[in-house]
Symmetry: C2
Subunit: 142 residues, 2 copies
DNA sequence: TCATAAATTAAAATGATTCTAAACTATTGA
DNA sequence: TCAATAGTTTAGAATCATTTTAATTTATGA
């Protein structure tokens, strides 16, 4: 029996890949484990690449980028645009919002169900909402 | 007397620069006119650079970047993070939100006063809100 | 007008990300 | 089981927005 520092995931990395029709290669399975076995969290390509290296997974940075985008296209990840210097990916794909700690460049989820937004104007003709993002930018002056 | 295609601005480009203590150089005055004489709008560095060229203003792209950042630091502009491929600057610096047309990569302002957000969790200890951004992402499938 | 600090610039550098083309590997059907 | 092949991975080059550098130019105040 394997040991996990977190509770056993509802779906294994392999099952997730199968479910979205992505061929379960060594790299994709390893990255999926790093992404989905811990609880919800946010990564950048560089960060995931370093994590992979630190646990001995051999994967190139190009593959990390490819994989993050494939997972995003497949709905396993969500891209969060908060910082013009790099792209964040969120393993929580349910509708929700974010605190963004500007100093540390860290994201924290805000439950989407709890938040209620009123007074928005009508959506322009011919357009439809693909997503609503609320970002609360926070500064922590030590 | 000069001719404007828009109504006369409340403050001239020169006055704005003086007000924030930026030396009114030829380039800064010219860019300020392009930015503040039309009504509220959004630009990227590349776009402003092209506009400048098209009206015969001689300015380098480096200066456009410098100027956009100086204006932002001075509170004359606001940076809008919506797109991971480039940075948008908004001449509307009052609290407000945005529609983002994903196909066209265009921004449209949403009046901030009209929008009411409820149910947000308490701000984490030691942090304070520097800004709340609401972005409604829209797709227009032709 | 002059001295000087500030601003501008072309060009090089950077850094995140994407592309390319060659080498590998999972899958499928015989 | 095995080869064919379509899909993957990869190192390295390329790209693109942006920033930096270091030299030149300009605004300002005495």
């Amino acid at each position: 029996m394997e040991h996990h520092s977190q509770t056993r995931p509802a779906f294994s990395a392999l099952e997730r890949l199968r479910a979205v029709g992505l061929r379960p290669t060594r790299q994709r399975v390893a990255l999926a484990k790093l992404l989905f076995e811990p609880g919800d969290h946010h990564v950048t390509a560089e960060l995931l690449f370093e994590q992979a290296q630190s646990v001995g997974v051999k994967v190139s940075l190009a593959t990390v980028y490819n994989t993050l985008h494939q997972f995003t296209a497949a709905g396993l990840l969500r891209e969060v645009v908060v910082d013009s210097t790099c792209t964040y990916f969120d393993t929580n794909v349910t509708g929700h919002h974010h605190f963004f700690f500007e100093n540390r460049r860290a994201l924290v989820d805000i439950d989407g169900a709890a938040v209620d937004i009123r007074g928005l104007p009508a959506v322009p003709d011919g357009a439809k909402i693909s997503r609503v993002d609320v970002i609360i930018r926070l500064s922590e002056d030590k």
